[in-house]
Symmetry: C2
Subunit: 385 residues, 2 copies
């Protein structure tokens, strides 16, 4: 990154990063009479008779709400709705730039998960899909589950699933370069928040067999008070492990940090298996600097940032995933669609150790993801509303 002042200047020049534009021109009174009263009554009547026609006569079908309550923003924690707005605008900006999706930032000031659920449910008729963002765990799981149940449009918590999609792509390419297989690898997940839990579950879904999720208390346990951790512990048989992170990383083929700055030490990397893979994805400060990991023996490193090699960031995935889901008129974004997105990313490049995923997002990649996601939606029977 350049100076801190560059970031502030960019945000304040013409305040913000999105605008709402008129997509229909009004050039004379006749146009006005179609866009507004009396003509506007016609699409209203059509939709009143059949709600599905909102997709035909309004912007709904391409509008995605990028929703946060500001309770878990980047590495900063609960900074509140207002302060999360720049991230939501950033995502909306990327949705348009790479996915031709009309992303709209919607921050929700709310003390409790039930209020977020209620609010999103009530405004949902406006949108074609919901992107949840930067909501703290475990509340984010409950919020996503409830909204998926109550709404007939895709609901996608990007911190969980967008991250999981990109991590799987990066990890498969990294393992491939080292001649290892996902099925045979010992993979330690550092952090059991939204991303940690989702990545663990998704890697299992994709065929991994030895996943060890670790939180600040050590390897997660089946008797954890957090039901999402307990379920995951059961699924991973993590309870056969014992101890803390230093124990877990011993002989690990990969360690994937989804936690906070500085948690992974050089000693831990040294204790890993031969040619270890170290993804330190905490934002904005990684769990260990790539240079330090390499000095301790890491064969391949990645971070969440654009200013180091191998950026593993959900920005690679979400614009294409939403484009594909909207194009397929999908009612949800399911596991098959996420796997398809992950494959699209992994196969988009000829991987190198310093380029295990496409370097920067580009529109071709987003459109490739969109095609595969839409195809998977068809195949899995959730397309066509």
């Amino acid at each position: 990154m350049k100076e801190k002042s560059d970031a502030l200047n960019l945000h304040s020049e013409n305040p913000g990063k999105i605008s709402v534009e008129a997509s229909v021109e009004i050039n004379d009174e006749e146009d006005l009479g179609l866009v507004y009263t009396p003509g506007v009554a016609e699409p209203c009547k059509e939709i009143a008779e059949d709600k599905k026609k909102a997709y035909q006569y309004t912007s709904k079908g391409n509008l995605v709400a990028v929703v946060s309550d500001g309770s878990a923003v980047l590495g900063m924690g609960d900074i509140g709705a207002e302060a999360s707005m720049p991230v939501m605008e950033g995502k909306s900006n990327l949705l348009k730039k790479f996915g031709d999706v009309d992303g709209f930032p919607l921050v929700v000031d709310s003390g409790k998960p039930e209020a977020v659920i209620e609010t999103v449910q009530r405004v949902a008729p406006t949108f074609g899909a919901i992107n949840l963002e930067d909501i703290s765990a475990p509340e984010c799981f409950r919020i996503e589950e409830a909204l998926k149940q109550r709404l007939d449009i895709p609901v996608f918590h990007d911190d969980q699933h967008g991250t999981a999609v990109v991590v799987l792509a990066a990890l498969k390419n990294a393992l491939g370069l080292l001649g290892k297989e996902l099925e045979d690898s010992r993979i330690v997940i550092v952090g059991a928040g939204a991303a940690g839990i989702a990545v663990s579950n998704f890697l299992l879904e994709a065929g991994a067999e030895e996943i060890i999720p670790v939180d600040s208390q050590g390897v997660i346990r089946e008797d954890d008070g957090n039901i999402y951790k307990a379920r995951l512990a059961e699924r991973t048989q993590a309870s056969e492990e014992a101890g803390g992170l230093s124990d877990a990383v011993e002989d690990a083929d990969a360690v994937i940090g989804l936690s906070v700055a500085g948690l992974i030490s050089k000693e831990m990397v040294e204790a890993m298996a031969e040619e270890p893979i170290v993804f330190a994805l905490a934002n904005p400060e990684p769990e260990i600097l790539p240079e330090d990991a390499k000095n301790a023996g890491a064969a391949i490193t990645a971070t969440g940032r654009s200013d180091f090699e191998n950026q593993v960031n959900n920005s690679l995935a979400f614009p294409g995933i939403f484009r594909g889901a909207l194009d397929a008129e999908a009612s949800e974004i399911n596991e098959e669609m996420k796997i398809a997105a992950s494959e699209a990313i992994a196969e988009f490049i000829e991987p190198e150790k310093d380029a295990i995923v496409p370097q920067t997002m580009d529109k071709d990649l987003a459109m490739e993801i969109a095609d595969r996601v839409a195809g998977a939606a068809e195949k899995s029977g959730v397309a066509g509303r």
Copy 2:
């Protein structure tokens, strides 16, 4: 209007009437690192320390939510959130076209007023102002009152106040052309819904002394179960009147229809004072067709539609009002600002009987309104946040 099919085609061609655009370009990884992680953390931190900085670093200050629950849409009544979307998009489109305001349609699916209040309050951190729209009376009064109390950004129910602003401008110019004064005129308001009550109150505010609001039960009464009607009855001394609309219009200088199609008959117009003024503003079908009113003796007629002469429609006012309120960083839109807007509209043209208000909205008018509104905000002490 052209054919019904023209309206439907315009809405479905590229579905809808608004789009969300990226207002900051991303051309390389460095840009991406400023718009998104890690650079985006800087404005987040600034806003976390001081919420007011959201105006400096996000799109909030120019974003206006155009909110409806779809409970009173045009002349169609309670058609639901989805079906109100084309109207909210139309308003958003006009906000941009004429006011350079980023209007965003937000429809709320909600069974009760309290839910609308709650929902808007929760998403308010996203926006610089709230435009309420097409919400049924009397719930709209309670919703607006509660939101004004709870929020520190302008809240403006356009069906009430936008209509009142344009009606006052049109009425003053019409009376002027006929050599009459607002203070001395007998003015009958047909309909005591959102617009009827707001127009009555605003005309009183502007100096009118004989206002007779009439609803479907006749002249409104101080013992009306609807507290907003009862308050207005008291204020207008309407209870000194008796009977129905046919009685009220006798010797009236102006009748202002804010109700439903067909309510004003030729006989009623014939019973009015010399050179009567007939505003039939029901949408999309007026209370009486201008031709019929003229045949019955009306000197000046107006409707809410763009395809008859003298369109008295809130579309003349709201883009400039919001532009002015946002420019002044106003905490509310008060009576002084609305009077200023009304004067700007009335004085923008040299009125003629078939042109009592500017014929079509144009940007110069919106900017003139904005200037005056911002000036009134300054003077009345609500500017500067």
